[in-house]
C-alpha cells in the first residue's frame, strides 16, 4: 500500500499539526452546544420527574387539568397545539408557495425585491404585536363575519358548529399562518432560485405557458425542498407562544369545533407558570415543556433532513 510507505518515509502528520489544533479548538463550541442541548433535556426531565413518576403515560392521554386536586392531563394542550399548527400549515403552505413563485418567477426584479422585503418584515414583527392585532382586528372579524358564514354553510360539520367566539382555535391558526408564512416562503424562494435557468428554458422551449413552466420546471423538482420548508414552518408554529396565548382563549378542553377556545402546550406554560404555587403544578408545566421540546426537536430534524437532500433531486 503506497499510503503506508509514504507515512513511514515522511512525517505527514506534523505538516498538518496546525490544522489539527485549529480543528480541535473549533470542536469545543460545537461539543458545548451539543452538551447544552442534552443538559436542557436533562434539566426538563429532572424537574418534571415528580409528575412523570406519578402519572406516567396517562399524562399524555388524559384531559383533566386540575392544579387544585393535583391532577394533570396534557391531552387538550397537545390537541390544541396539533390543531392550531395544522390550520396554520393548511393556510400558510399555498400562500407561501404562491408568494415565492410570484417573487421568483413573475414579479419584475425591482417589485420582487420590495415585496420580498415586506414579506420578510412580517418575520420581524414581535409576537405580542400579532397578538394585539389578533385581539382587536382578527377576532372581531372572525366573530361577526367569517365564523357565521362557515356556520351557515358548513355548520353540519362538527368543526364549524358551536357559538362563534372569535377568539379560539381558528383565530390562533390564522395568526400562526401569518407568522410562519415568511419562514416558509423565504426557504421556498431559495429552493426555487436554485433551479437552473436551463430547466425553465426547457419548459418554455417545448411551448409551456408561464404557469406550465412553473409546474414542470419549478414545482415538480422542488418537492423535497418545499416539504422541508413546510416542516420548518410547522416547527415554528408548534412552539409559538405569545400571540397564541393572547388569542386562543385558554380553555383546557378538547373540542372539535374550530370556533371554540382552546390552549396549546406553549400557551399553558406561559399562562400558568407565574401562578403555579405547588411543586407538582410546576413539574406538570415543565413536563409539557419537555414534550414540546421533544416534538419540535424531532420536527426540525426531519425538516433539515429534507432540505439537506433537496439539492440532489
Amino acid at each position: 500500500m503506497p499510503g503506508v510507505v509514504r507515512a513511514k518515509n515522511r512525517p505527514v502528520r506534523e505538516i498538518h499539526y496546525g490544522d489539527r489544533v485549529f480543528a480541535g479548538i473549533l470542536k469545543i463550541p460545537a461539543a458545548g452546544l451539543a452538551l447544552l442541548l442534552l443538559s436542557i433535556a436533562y434539566f426538563l426531565y429532572r424537574a418534571a420527574s415528580p409528575v412523570i413518576v406519578k402519572h406516567g403515560w396517562a399524562f399524555l392521554t388524559s384531559s383533566t387539568w386540575d392544579p387544585v386536586r393535583d391532577v394533570y392531563g396534557a391531552l387538550p394542550v397537545i390537541y390544541g397545539t396539533v390543531v392550531s399548527s395544522f390550520i396554520a400549515i393548511v393556510i400558510a403552505t399555498p400562500l407561501s408557495v404562491g408568494v415565492a413563485l410570484f417573487l421568483t418567477e413573475i414579479a419584475p426584479r425591482r417589485t420582487g425585491r420590495v415585496f420580498g422585503f415586506l414579506v420578510e418584515m412580517l418575520a420581524a414583527i414581535p409576537s405580542v404585536v400579532y397578538g394585539l392585532w389578533g385581539i382587536f382586528v382578527l377576532a372581531p372579524w372572525l366573530r361577526t363575519s367569517v365564523e357565521p358564514f362557515f356556520k351557515t354553510w358548513l355548520g353540519f360539520l362538527p368543526f364549524f358548529s358551536g357559538p362563534p367566539y372569535g377568539v379560539g382555535m381558528l383565530a390562533a391558526g390564522i395568526i400562526l399562518a401569518v407568522m410562519i408564512t415568511p419562514t416558509i416562503s423565504s426557504i421556498a424562494r431559495e429552493v426555487f432560485s436554485a433551479i437552473p435557468l436551463q430547466q425553465r428554458e426547457a419548459a418554455l422551449g417545448i411551448g409551456a405557458t408561464r404557469w406550465e413552466m412553473m409546474r414542470l420546471a419549478v414545482l415538480q423538482s422542488s418537492r423535497r425542498g418545499l416539504t422541508g420548508a413546510v416542516i420548518l414552518g410547522l416547527g415554528r408554529a408548534l412552539g409559538e407562544t405569545m400571540a397564541v396565548t393572547m388569542i386562543i382563549g385558554n380553555r383546557h378542553e378538547v373540542s372539535l369545533s374550530l370556533f371554540a377556545p382552546g390552549s396549546t402546550m406553549a400557551s399553558i406554560i406561559a399562562n400558568e407558570y407565574a401562578e403555579a404555587t405547588t411543586d407538582t403544578h410546576v413539574a406538570a408545566l415543565v413536563e409539557v415543556g419537555l414534550v414540546l421540546f421533544a416534538v419540535t426537536f424531532v420536527i426540525n430534524s426531519i425538516a433539515r433532513l429534507f432540505l439537506s437532500r433537496s439539492g440532489n433531486r
Partner: protein, 252 residues
C-alpha cells in the same frame, strides 16, 4: 427549393445592447443549416429569436419578420407559446426534467398540447425515441428518471422530447459542446439522419462539425451575418476575407 422559414430584417437587443443586426436568411426544407462564428457573435440570440424564446429574457426584445411556412411568427396577435409548440429546440446543456421519467420527458410536449390517450402517447414516445436513436438503449428503463441517463443519452432524450410534437423545424444550440467525442459523433450521425424528417438549424462553434454535417452555412460576426452559402463553398472559397480568416483559424 421551398423555404420552410424565411427571416427578414431581424434585429435583437438585450436592453440597449444590440446582439443581432438586420439578418436576412431562409432555411430550405430538409436541410441542415449551420450557424458559425466566434463566441458572443449572436448565434444563440439569433436562433432563440426563431422560436420567440429570446423575449423571455428580462429586457430583451426582437423585431423583424420570421415567416414559418408563410406565417409571420412576429405577426400581430401571434401567441409565442403556440409558436414554440411547433418548433423544436435543443440546448447546449442537456436539460431533461429531473422530476420526470424517460417516458414522461418525451411525452411532456404532447401532454401540454392536451393529448391524454395512453396508446397514442406510447406510440409517439416510441417513435420519437427511435428517431433520436435512443429507443434500444432506454426501452427497458422508460420509468427511470430522465437524469439517470448518460450525458449523451440525455441530449438524445432532449432531441426526442423536441421531436415528439412533430415540429417542422428543429433548432439546436451547440448541442454537442457539453458531450464527449463518441456522444458527439452519435449526435452528428443522428442529425444527418433526421434531416429527412425535419429542417435543422444548428449553431456550432466547431467548424469541422459544420463542414461535416451541414448543407448551408451562415457565418456571424458581432451580430452581423457576414456570409451565407453552400457549406462546401464557404469552407473552400469564402468570398469575405473575415470568413476566410475565421475558417482558417486566424481569428479570435
Amino acid at each position: 427549393m421551398s423555404a420552410i422559414m424565411e427571416v427578414s430584417g431581424l434585429n435583437a437587443w438585450f436592453g440597449a445592447a444590440q446582439a443581432v443586426k438586420e439578418i436576412n436568411l431562409s432555411f430550405e426544407k430538409n436541410t441542415v443549416t449551420a450557424i458559425i462564428g466566434p463566441s458572443g457573435c449572436g448565434k444563440s440570440t439569433f436562433i432563440r429569436c426563431l422560436n420567440r424564446l429570446h423575449e423571455e429574457v428580462p429586457d430583451a426584445r426582437a423585431i423583424g419578420r420570421v415567416l414559418l411556412e408563410g406565417d409571420d411568427i412576429y405577426g400581430r396577435g401571434v401567441d409565442p407559446v403556440a409558436i414554440r409548440r411547433k418548433i423544436g429546440m435543443v440546448f447546449q446543456k442537456p436539460n431533461p426534467f429531473p422530476s420526470l421519467s424517460v417516458f414522461d420527458n418525451v411525452a411532456v410536449g404532447l401532454r401540454l398540447g392536451g393529448l391524454r390517450r395512453a396508446s397514442i402517447l406510447k406510440e409517439a414516445v416510441e417513435r420519437s425515441l427511435t428517431l433520436s436513436a435512443l429507443w434500444d438503449e432506454v426501452k427497458d428503463k422508460l420509468n427511470a428518471p430522465g437524469t439517470s441517463l448518460s450525458g449523451g443519452q440525455q441530449q438524445r432524450l432532449c432531441i426526442a422530447r423536441a421531436l415528439a410534437v412533430e415540429p417542422s423545424i428543429l433548432l439546436m444550440d451547440e448541442p454537442t459542446s457539453a458531450l464527449d467525442p463518441i456522444s458527439t459523433a452519435k449526435i452528428e450521425e443522428l442529425v444527418t439522419e433526421l434531416k429527412k424528417a425535419v429542417t435543422i438549424v444548428m449553431v456550432t462553434h466547431n467548424m469541422q462539425q459544420a463542414a461535416r454535417i451541414s448543407d448551408k452555412t451562415a457565418f456571424f460576426l458581432l451580430g452581423d451575418m457576414v456570409e451565407y452559402g453552400e457549406t462546401s463553398r464557404i469552407f473552400t472559397a469564402p468570398k469575405d476575407s473575415r470568413t476566410e480568416r475565421y475558417i482558417t483559424g486566424r481569428f479570435g
